[in-house]
Amino acid sequence: MEKIKSISKTELIIYGIFCSFAAAMLSPSLKLGLGEKGDLGPGLLPLAANLCVLITGIALAISVLIKREKIDPSGESEKIDRKGWLRSGGILLNFALWPLLVGIVGYILSTLLISLGLAKVVGYKDWRRPIILSVSITFCIWLIFGVLFQLDLPSGFSF
């Protein structure tokens, strides 16, 4: 029951974020102008869309409050351990590092590092297989995008 309650709370927070965002966008939408008869303004669709988000968000929040015991996030009742969250965090960190690194060290080194990081984060204990995997990925991407498509891959001091 405790877990179910915490899920309800998280879901309510999500609705709250959506509703707050939509409410905050109402005024800028109105400022864009709704237009006049026969000539709609650029603010009409954003206003209508945000009103729809706001109304459905409130309705969903009310439904959670009324029948909170029935909440089950997307039917995914599987338990996620700490390792799972760490893996996901590590993956996101790797993704965030790529745009930061690529302009400095260039495509080859950044992709090599990121794919190696991803391979290590997702469970390889040794170094041999992740290195082989990351070198293969980097080479294939270079071959496909750089050689075949002749794209200007981002370059830095290493490439």
Binding site: I14, M25, L60, L92, P99, Y124, L151
Partner: protein
């Protein structure tokens, strides 16, 4: 020029080595994706979308469509061999397909599934080829009010038919529509919600959002709960023959499935899933061997596998003729075409006969390639399903990064993709359907344009809509359609789940 001459010209274009190669890559990739649990055609197409842009509109369209219908083929392999559906539309195949494997008839089930998919796909393409040009010609007489009504039907149907909770779907499609308005307004020329960020002036690009929502969110999900690949039964080529009795019993279900899929294909929502469940229900209800269903009836494989393939092909009709995607993957195809400044719609066939007929011919070829590749290579495709997430995640991750970057050569898009991935993962965990969000982004601009043109056309007097019979019929259809399809869908799914 007659339809046949157009088609022959289309074959000339499709047989161009570059187009043929795209077709081959698309169907192989689609089949591989189809057998992998978790990854589906939407995820694969989202990842391939930026890559497809590099090849021009026709080759890009051929590649993406190949992934789409290839995934339908591939989805059945794991359903039959290990009782794990690779695709939502293959869920129903697990019931009798896996039972056939347990009885030692896996080869027959795979062969019937592949042949049924080929027949249904071909029937679907013939219907598309015959139906699309006259429908497009008829749509030329539609005015802005009719288009607005069709847009509204698509909006309402796609938001209410996705996921369990229609409110969540409506919220997502509205949020997607809002995101589509970010950037410089095309008519007024003023900036909307750009927050002074130069990259936002041209709007939030659809591609990194789709890659993030489907690709990155799936990677996070895989990392949280990595699946352990199931041991796969090996099937030898000489085992891939149904016996005479199985062949005889498969013929009518394949034809019925093709017909059901063709009917459902043109409806908004998830046509392939609904078609396969309906086909199973129909086969079971009319079969003289009802007791065999659930224990390895070949009809339970032949019907649904045919239905989902023809549904996939026919889902292209609304996109190509009206320019409105009624299915999620069609939205990705639309996005791909728009990036080449090719706008599907009533004038699409007239203005771009090379693309339309080349695409039709490529689908015939792709369907044939799938048949000749799938049976001999079934063992290889089955081995793809044994790939561990730790191999897949780095490959998919790097492809997502490059795909997003390549669209506009902007690192800003990579950040958008990462953000969309996190949002997508959170939303999915709480049961929010992501497809309406993407459709809202694609359809938002089209809706706004139609709304503006209609308002100008009617001079703001919407009561004039009452004088437009087609508009009235479409508007009246919205509640009726949503009510009946939801009801019918629930009934069919309930029957399938009971099995």
């Amino acid at each position: 020029m007659s339809g046949l001459e157009h088609l022959l010209q289309g074959f000339q274009i499709a047989l161009d080595p570059a187009n043929l190669m795209m077709c081959l890559i698309g169907v192989i990739l689609g089949t591989m994706v189809g057998v992998l649990p978790g990854l589906g055609p939407i995820e694969a197409m989202a990842i391939m979308l930026p890559i497809s842009i590099r090849f021009g509109p026709l080759a890009g369209l051929i590649l993406l469509a190949g992934v789409w219908y290839g995934a339908q083929y591939g989805g059945s392999t794991t359903s039959i061999l290990v009782n794990i559906p690779g695709e939502a539309s293959s869920v129903i195949t697990t019931i009798d397909g896996y039972q056939m494997t347990r009885k030692g008839r896996a080869g027959a089930a795979l062969a019937v599934s592949a042949i049924g998919s080929f027949v249904a796909g071909t029937i679907g393409i013939v219907i598309l080829q015959l139906f699309a040009p006259p429908l497009a010609a008829a749509a030329l007489s539609f005015g802005p009010p009719e288009y607005l009504a069709i847009m509204l039907l698509a909006f309402v149907a796609l938001s209410t038919l996705s996921g369990d909770n229609p409110l969540k779907g409506a919220m997502m499609i509205a949020f997607g529509a809002f995101l589509s308005t970010i950037g410089i307004d095309r008519i007024a020329g003023i900036q909307r919600f750009t927050m002074g960020i130069p990259n936002m002036m041209y709007g939030i690009n659809f591609v990194p959002v789709a890659v993030g929502l489907f690709g990155i969110a799936e990677i996070i999900r895989l990392a949280l709960n990595p699946y352990v690949p199931s041991p796969m039964k090996s099937v030898r080529f000489r085992e891939l023959y149904p016996n005479r009795e199985e062949t005889r019993r498969s013929i009518m279900p394949i034809l019925r499935g093709s017909f059901i899929g063709s009917l459902f294909g043109m409806l908004p929502g998830t046509p392939a899933v609904l078609a396969s469940f309906t086909s199973y229900s129909v086969e079971k209800s009319i079969s003289p061997r009802k007791a065999e269903f659930g224990k390895g009836a070949i009809e339970g494989v032949a019907g649904p596998e045919s239905a989902n393939n023809s549904a996939v092909i026919l889902a292209l009709v609304p996109l190509l003729c009206l320019g409105i995607p009624f299915a999620p993957v069609a939205a990705l195809l639309l996005a791909g075409l728009e990036m080449h400044n090719v706008t599907p719609g009533p004038l699409f066939i007239q203005d771009n006969p090379d693309i339309f007929w080349g695409f039709i011919a490529a689908m015939y070829l792709g369907n044939f390639l799938l048949l000749i590749l799938n049976l001999p290579l079934v063992g290889l495709f089955a081995r793809v399903a044994t790939l561990r997430p730790r191999v897949l995640i780095p490959i998919i991750g790097v492809l997502c990064l490059f795909g997003s970057y390549m669209t506009r050569m902007a690192l800003f898009d990579v950040w958008v993709m990462i953000g969309a991935g996190i949002v997508g993962f959170i939303l999915t965990r709480f049961g929010f359907p992501l497809v309406p969000l993407v459709l809202g982004m694609v359809l938002g601009n089209i809706l706004e344009d139609n709304l503006r043109v209609t308002t100008q056309w009617l001079n703001g007097d919407f009561s004039l809509l009452l004088t437009r019979p087609i508009t009235l019929v479409i508007l009246a259809l919205i509640p009726v359609y949503v009510f009946f399809i939801r009801l019918a869908g629930k009934k069919v799914f309930r029957n399938g789940i009971k099995e």
